[in-house]
Symmetry: C2
DNA sequence: TAAACAATTGAATAAACGCTCAATTGATTC
DNA sequence: GAATCAATTGAGCGTTTATTCAATTGTTTA
């Protein structure tokens, strides 16, 4: 029993394929970061927030009114997006304005929208 | 009380901004599909599977051995990816080979990897 | 300095999710 | 046709997570 099938009850069928893919495979860190990025984008409320901020800088109340949700719920999601550096904020008096941190996310969204539009 | 703040305890601060964004905002269906797509990509195991299939067509046992997981766990994830039409399968005897369904997902992944690499 | 209000935070709850385990299906081969 | 093996499936379990609710912070203004 080799280390390859410690966790797999099957006999390895194509060892050459496995070795080939293993030699090209990314390290854990980028894999984990990419899946975490997608996980953060993979929520309806956060998707809507990012969409909205793609059109205009907005404060918490505006987003809450637009999405017909409480500002508490929105604020919780904004924190997650801010900590992932997907959005940034600036405070003017009592009001905090949010906007997209950079263009990468918009590019990602555009391709994702193209993809799902083809299916419709 | 207007329909806009039924669910928001704040008074609307920038009605012009809300109306502007609302006029450009996507319908529910594409939003839901995009967030579902990202949700599916946002899991470490599924990210690894997609990565692997980007390099080579592989059977369930091969993927299980590569990722050091049970073929049951892999099969469950493959079903989710197959139902989302992210991957496709072909059977040869007892063995089922999986591969990426199209290039969209790879493009999405490349941009995502670029994005996370900049942060490192 | 007290009231008002936008925003944030923490705890609690209910729903969603990934893996395990056991059983089953589908296909080959002896 | 019985045994074997890759793959699939369903139930169960523990974990994660999005929202709600109540309390608090930070800033303005009366």
């Amino acid at each position: 029993m080799t280390s390859e099938n410690d966790h797999c009850e099957c006999s390895v069928i194509h060892e050459d394929v496995i070795l080939n893919v293993k030699s090209k495979f990314p390290h854990d860190e980028p894999i984990i970061r990419v899946s975490e990025l997608f996980k953060i984008l993979g929520d309806e409320t956060r998707t809507r927030i990012i969409c909205a901020l793609g059109f205009s800088e907005m404060c918490v109340c505006d987003i809450a009114a637009l999405l017909k949700m409480t500002s508490s719920a929105i604020s919780h999601q904004l924190r997650i997006l801010r900590e992932s550096q997907i959005i940034k904020s600036r405070r003017v008096g009592k009001v905090v304005y949010y906007s997209l941190a950079d263009q990468h996310i918009e590019k990602l969204f555009n391709i994702a929208f193209e993809h799902v539009m083809e299916e419709i």
